[in-house]
């Protein structure tokens, strides 16, 4: 009994470690390649560790494209969108969860319906809207369409707010508190875990967003990282794998750091979003 349990656990861990290795190897290979010299990269007998570790690829990356500028663009755009979505989607969620008004259920259905629409369907018409607003090739094109909230965030926050018992607000209402006070002072602090989930999801989604920035931005200095490195890959340096892996490493690293710091919230949040 005891021995069979130990063997079972051993088998399980061996399988899981093998799986974890498969999950990690591409990342390790990416980082390793980014520190290798071209002669080391284009070798028929590659080694895991660079034979002569070098920063050549990183130096070239910064000279080929305005990488630092694109990094700051990505960070700025992502943070503004995340803050906007947290504020405006939580406001919308409060209205759906706590206020009665004509057409509420119909409007909520429209919100849900927009969740089913693939991004590519709205791509060109949304581009036309942005063009008519005169936003093409500006930060507004990147920020504007997303900063006013997303249906997904509003939906998720509404589901959380519905689980909060209404008695908590009754006392505040008797004391004469208005809806802004109740929203800001009572509801928002109580949905903090949900805000964390929405914030992390939005951060990951907009840090990695590719198609929309590809369409609305064409000047090198306004590009975000994904568009920057994809452009590098399809350009004349597209076969310099060391440089491409250096770019990939620097694009992926901030997210990995954020994820590892908050992984408990992320994984719990995903689990909750699936059960709702």
């Amino acid at each position: 009994m005891k021995i069979s349990k130990i063997i079972g656990a051993l088998l399980l861990h061996t399988t899981l470690i093998a799986g974890a290795t498969i999950a990690l190897v591409p990342f390790i290979w990416m980082v390793a390649t980014s520190f290798k010299l071209p002669s080391d990269i284009l070798s028929t007998a590659p080694t895991w560790l660079p034979r002569e570790p070098t920063f050549r690829n990183y130096e070239l990356l910064f000279s080929y494209i305005p990488f630092l500028r694109q990094f700051i663009n990505t960070l700025f755009v992502t943070i503004v969108i995340v803050l906007g979505q947290l504020l405006f989607s939580s406001m919308g969620a409060y209205a759906f969860a706590r206020l009665r008004f004509p057409g509420r259920d119909g409007l909520f259905l429209v919100f849900l319906a927009t969740l089913m629409v693939p991004n590519v369907v709205t791509l060109i018409p949304a581009f036309i809207v942005v063009r008519n607003l005169g936003w093409v090739n500006t930060y507004m094109a990147l920020i504007g369409p997303a900063v006013l909230g997303s249906a997904f965030a509003t939906f998720l926050l509404r589901q959380f707010m519905l689980t909060i018992p209404a008695e908590l607000e009754e006392a505040a209402k008797i004391d004469g508190a208005g809806h802004f006070t109740i929203y800001w002072r009572i509801i928002l602090p109580l949905v903090r875990p949900a805000l964390a989930v929405v914030g992390i999801f939005a951060f990951v989604a907009f840090w990695n967003d590719f198609l929309w920035p590809l369409v609305v931005i064409n000047s090198e200095s306004l590009k975000v990282l994904t568009v920057g490195i994809a452009g590098l890959a399809s350009g004349p340096y597209g076969t310099d794998w060391g440089v491409l892996m250096a770019g990939s490493t620097l694009t992926v690293m901030p997210l990995i750091v954020v994820f590892l710091a908050l992984q408990r919230h992320v994984i719990e949040g995903v689990a909750i979003s699936g059960l709702k």
Binding site: P26, S89, L148, V270
Partner: protein, 288 residues
Amino acid sequence: MTATDTTSATAWRPSRRRSRERLRESLYAAVFLAPNVLGIGLFVVVPVIAGLAISFTNWDLLGEASWIGIDNYVALWSDALFWTSLRNTLFYTVLVIPGGLILSLLLALGLSGKMRGIRFYQAIFFLPYVSSTVAIALVWKWIYNPDYGVLNVFLRGVGLPAPNWLGDPTLALVSIAIVSIWQTAGYNMVLFVAGLRAIPKHYYEAARIDGAGPITIFFKITLPLLMPTIFFVSATSLIASFQVFNLVFVMTKGGRAIPPASMCSTFGRTGFRSSKWGTHRQWPTSFS
């Protein structure tokens, strides 16, 4: 006189107060919802409707538009590229969904019990999901490189054939499907772990007392009770595989080098370069 006054007043006042309260609440709702409605309306709802309308015109995004009825759809129907891309998408979907579902369910079953290091494994399996698809696509393109890619170097080392993973159209779809499964398995696994934990423990105890073996328990209890999660994961995977764009775009040069793996890549390939936007506009719409 006064008596009738008070009765009518009491009957009238609360309803007026209620209707004023209703109006106040509606006004608050309008303020709270204004940013959401503006953003989602202007950048999702209007584009969906406008896209549908444009698909019945010959608008090229710059000149005059005139109504041409279903001509675009007729042209699409007889376009070989459209059928190729549809076939590719279906093939890709058939690869990704069962493969991804089974793999993530197995991972979840391995991690659903009480054991040490669950959080550690979950974090590692989840890592590919949070990583930028564009960066991931570049890394895998390098791994798949026919001459110097680590995969082929390894295969040659053990005496196996080293194919051109992204060169041959059919094989490229398989290669991209592998990357997609690798990237999303951890996410689906977390959903499955949550689904497994939601199954009440006493069902298992009862089954065990009745003498059911682990395989019977899996097929008679775990699987039926996990159906909502399986449905959710399948639906989200299906939507994602029909929308696959970034992986194909980056790994196969925008789908130009090989036939595109999905409608969306075809659309990306021709739509941006075509003068007849109306023609290509409705491809995704007709399948959403």
